[in-house]
Amino acid sequence: MSASLERGLDRFRESLDADTAGFFATCVRCGMCAEACLFYTETEEPRYTPIHKLQPLKRLWWREYTLVGRIAAALGLSKPVTGGELADWSELVYDSCTLCGRCSLVCPVGNDITYMIRRMRDGMAAAGYAPPGLVGATRRAIELGSPMGVQLATLQAQIRHQEEATGLPIPMDREGADYLVLLSSMEIVNTPEMLGALARIFDRAGVSWTLASDAFEATNSGIQIGVAELAREIVMRTVTAAERLGVKGVVSPECGHAYMALRWEGPDLIGRPYRFEVLHILELLDRLRGEGRLKVDSTFNLPITFHDPCQVVRRGGVTEAPRNLLKMVATDVREMEEHGVYNWCCGGGGGVSAIGRAEELRLKAFGKKRGQIEATGAKTVATACANCRVVMEEAIDHYQIGVELVGLTELIADHLETEESHHG
């Protein structure tokens, strides 16, 4: 057995905590998770059944931790987990799982399958079976501080452009600001207008905010590839900056897993509570709306629908804020049939959009979202995750379906009540 395989299997053993062992023991093999997974519904291939994606981990548990399994193993009636098996499972654990959490939601016995996939990725990464795209992203996250290779100079260039476009300052490293605002790599590079949108909204709502030169990026690839140490380091970067600047709150951007990582897993990862509050940008905007500090003076009047980012809504619990905000700024909001916590994933979350070999499968899995969007009749889709947005834009281009994507924060900024309109 190779050293890396042994290392991976050791990680599997470590990950077989009480939760995971309990989940395996209580699985009633009903198969409901299959119908909850867009990779199964769009391909109808049984191997994409979520619980099946965990088969090597489950076998290891059965062979080493159950009485019958141990006897069977001792008698040579079951085979050990091999490197070849893990290689075969790489596609199932990475390419065909966006960690969207829909399987965990529908499991009738409450098994958190998504959690187990994360644990299995830990072992797969240690054994060397993580896909090259994700390994590269993680290497860049370690070496450059960003999975996309975004540097401070990249952000500074975007800040210059957005300050020019809005005529507003974009504060950096301002001590004593109320909120430290984080961005995702994808926002910095692909939708820098988000920065301008934030500047305009915060200016109008009187919010004191800042960016931090040593923690501007929220993306946490440690979570997706399954390297807890890295995930911890990335969270710690933000915690250190937030405490140095003395902010009251840290704002997670329009990014899905950044919110999961920081809001829900961060304190566990670093082993202590935060000294500040963590909010998703939509939560902050909804709070400002509730306080009467965020107002629009025009509305978006074409049919529009909202794509729920899995990590923000189903996994993160930010369900009502996007709807409150959308109703404020748009007059013809059309919900998809299964929305909110029951939404379907864009197909590219959980690191899948970074896996080159998964492209064809990802485009196929988009069939679910495509059907949902088309059924609403809306030609505009608002969302609150820059990665969902790019994944959907690419698929929409590919299928030539003529739908526009827009970030909800930007949409609000575009209809914001201005000084002139307020007084005029």
Binding site: L134, G136, Q151, A157, M186, V189, N190, S353
Partner: protein, 111 residues
């Protein structure tokens, strides 16, 4: 470390053939890399390569396809800022192939 030889000089490239050092790049290197990719450089090809060099100079990042089309659209107009036009120039993937010829690292997406 792999390398290529241009004008008698050894230049380091990564496992996928992307130049390791930005400053090793010049037009001869670009022509060499283009030939390896099976791309015949025309003025339109150079326009994209030069755009990428300038983009990298400012933003320090190699843009993935979506960002490239958007940024080119802004600067050179919609008839050039679209995937169809760029794929005609660089059939092996406009961002990847053109970045390689421009001496930039391989563009990457988010996770």
């Amino acid at each position: 470390m792999a390398s290529i030889e241009v004008n008698g000089k050894q230049l380091e490239v990564d496992e996928e053939g992307y130049l390791q050092n930005l400053e090793d790049w010049n037009m001869d290197v670009a022509n060499f890399l283009a030939e390896q990719e099976g791309v015949e450089m025309t003025d339109n090809h150079w326009e994209v390569v030069n755009f990428l060099r300038e983009y990298y100079e400012e933003y320090k990042i190699a843009p993935m396809i979506r960002i490239l089309t958007k940024a080119i659209g802004k600067k050179l107009g919609a008839d050039k800022g679209n995937t169809k036009y760029l794929y005609e120039l660089y059939p092996g993937g406009p961002a990847k192939q053109a970045c390689k010829i421009a001496g930039l690292p391989k563009p990457t997406g988010c996770v």
